[in-house]
């Protein structure tokens, strides 16, 4: 991965944006509206999907890893790292594969990513707890992922429409 200064700056801005979004999300917990523990909109995934389409695989992956590392440093919680990392990386891998299937729109890709994110987090829960009990919660999370994934896809599609004439990567 060889980055121009412009791309590097863009990656840094997107990382900051992702961190800001995930912090902001904590201020409006969705679990107050929907009584399901651990449910999040996953606003930071908007940045991941956007970066994957706009910048490509490697910059998107770099932004994701930087966001997970910095996020757990800011939260002062090292055990949260395995959760965000496993969820994030699995989501990224699934979205890389799904994006290559040319027929899928941004909605299908981000729904697949959201579902993979939840699978990764349940995997992290199984590892930390040493128990398979969290698997029982996966069906609920997967159904919720359909909605949060569609929301992410919707926001990114709006973003791309609005940015039709804006070229971030070159002047």
């Amino acid at each position: 991965m060889k980055l121009t200064t412009r791309q590097l700056a863009l990656c840094a801005v997107l990382t900051a944006l992702a961190l800001g979004l995930s912090y902001m999300e904590g201020l409006f917990p969705v679990s107050l509206l929907i009584p399901l523990p651990g449910i999040k909109l996953g606003l930071a995934n908007i940045v991941t999907v956007f970066a994957l389409y706009e910048l490509g695989v490697w910059p998107a992956l770099a932004i994701l890893v930087a966001r997970c590392l910095l996020g757990s440093v800011f939260a002062g919680n090292a055990s949260a790292l395995i959760f965000s990392m496993m969820g994030g990386v699995l989501a990224m891998l699934v979205m890389i594969v799904l994006r290559r299937l040319r027929h899928l729109s941004i909605f299908g890709v981000s729904i697949g990513g959201a579902a993979a994110h939840n699978i990764g987090q349940i995997g992290a829960a199984i590892i930390t707890l040493g128990s398979t009990a969290p698997v029982g919660y996966l069906p609920v999370l997967l159904v919720v992922a359909l909605f949060t994934g569609a929301l992410t896809g919707f926001v990114v599609s709006l973003l791309f429409r609005a940015m039709k004439n804006v070229h971030l990567m070159h002047e």
Binding site: Y53, L104, I111, L129, S131, A133, G136, L146, A150
Partner: protein, 134 residues
């Protein structure tokens, strides 16, 4: 720009395949986890694990009075066990996810606390057998 122009922005029927796959997976996991977990039995046992170690195993069906179990740790919690299920009645953690989970009453269900690493799991009668080989 190649990457941006290749993005399909409108949902299409192919996306429904992803939705179907996710629903199928959710249904499959649900079926495997709950329906094959001895949930048919009317005999309930609550198993409480703290940091990977089993701290309490209570036969709920033969319980004569409600029983409370207290877990001590960074974030302690109080668990209420009764004949028809288990419930976390109070916890000293910031998120309170375990309290919000409410009461669980069927085999296969569980209450999970990630910060304190507590799992309260209800198992059916089948769980008297530890491992099935063959």
């Amino acid at each position: 720009m190649r990457t941006k122009s290749s993005a399909k922005l409108k949902p299409c029927w192919w996306d429904a395949l992803v939705v179907a796959a996710v629903l199928l997976l959710a249904g499959g996991v649900f079926f495997l986890f709950y329906l094959s977990n001895g949930s048919g039995s009317d005999h309930l046992t609550a198993v409480i694990t703290h940091k990977g170690e089993e701290v309490e195993r209570v036969d709920l069906t033969s319980l004569t009075a409600d029983k409370t179990v207290t877990i001590d740790g960074t974030y302690g919690m109080t668990i209420l066990l009764s004949t028809d299920g288990a419930q976390v009645i109070s916890a000293q953690c910031p998120t309170q996810d375990c309290v919000h989970t409410g009461k669980i009453s069927r085999a296969g269900q569980s209450i999970v606390c990630l910060p304190e690493q507590v799992v309260i799991q209800l198992v059916g009668a089948k769980s008297d057998i530890d491992v099935v080989i063959g």
